[in-house]
Symmetry: C2
Subunit: 150 residues, 2 copies
DNA sequence: TATTATATGATAATTGTTATTTAATAATAA
DNA sequence: TTATTATTAAATAACAATTATCATATAATA
């Protein structure tokens, strides 16, 4: 499965293969998505890119992210009234856990999840295409800081 | 737990107890949320209310729905770029399954889900407050109609 | 019935996102 | 290397869902 190429190289290859141009801004955005573990939002990505290419527009970030989304290379994590966040490391459906205080998002390992999909298909007759499993809570670090503030 | 009062009565009582006024529009919105099984959106609720109170403003629907949400009496179901939908029958976290074609949302029964929360808390050290488990697929009815169209 | 704080309705404002348009530029071939 | 050309970027307008504002209306209470 992993032929030795990095996630960044893979994403760049996908763009190249489909005939999309490899502009510096685009590569920078791909790098950010491929390397960041913190599930950044558009605003955060834009903030990062402009450190290297100061004139980069928000619209460019939106377009690049949504292009990568269409190509199946990033997964969008939408939270109600919050802004969207993106996962470029693992673009396939997987559970997330978000801290409601510091807004950090991490990927827990949860077995016994694929079993759920089967159970569901059996029960409802649906053809399951995708799912979304997100937990909300308070991370260990924020639990500590709220103790201190008492 | 259920003292014999209907869901509608309960929601009205909560409003009354907290000192919120029981205006006709508000009661109408609560009725719609308490009785509809199809997880309506704001637009759909507004459409229903105006059948009885024709001048009801969209803003009133938004405000009432968000009041009930804050009181924990309706649960918001947000889907990415789609508009929000609301569940007034069961305002506590529970799985949904949505048909990507007809946009219908139903509530499947899934056991072995609370176990997942425990597994997660153990693994991550998070204090779990809430969760969201949504499946996307094609419902039996839409599966049939797409066969016909071949 | 009068009082008063709260809710409504109409609409303006805001926010996240998408579309548009002109200028810039990556890829290609001469 | 340079010229060509279609694609991309930047700036900004447009958009849709939602929220805020404020004058008017009204539910609750005395």
């Amino acid at each position: 499965m992993n032929t030795g190429e990095t996630r960044l190289e893979h994403m760049v290859d996908v763009l190249k293969d489909k005939g999309f141009r490899l502009t510096p801004q685009r590569i920078a955005i791909v790098e950010i998505l491929a390397n960041s573990c913190d599930h950044p939002g558009v605003e955060q990505i834009h903030c990062e890119v402009t450190k290297r290419f100061s004139t980069t527009s928000l619209a460019t970030v939106y377009k690049t992210v949504s292009l990568l989304k269409e190509l199946g290379e990033v997964m969008e994590i939408g939270f109600g009234d919050e802004t969207n966040r993106y996962d470029g490391k693992n673009p396939h459906p997987h559970p997330h856990i978000m801290c409601v205080k510091c807004k950090s998002i991490t990927d827990p390992d949860l077995s016994s999840l694929t079993a759920l999909s089967w159970e569901l298909a059996e029960e409802t007759g649906y053809q399951i295409l995708s799912h979304r499993l997100d937990f909300f809570g308070i991370c260990p670090k924020c639990q500590k800081t709220s103790e201190h503030s008492h």
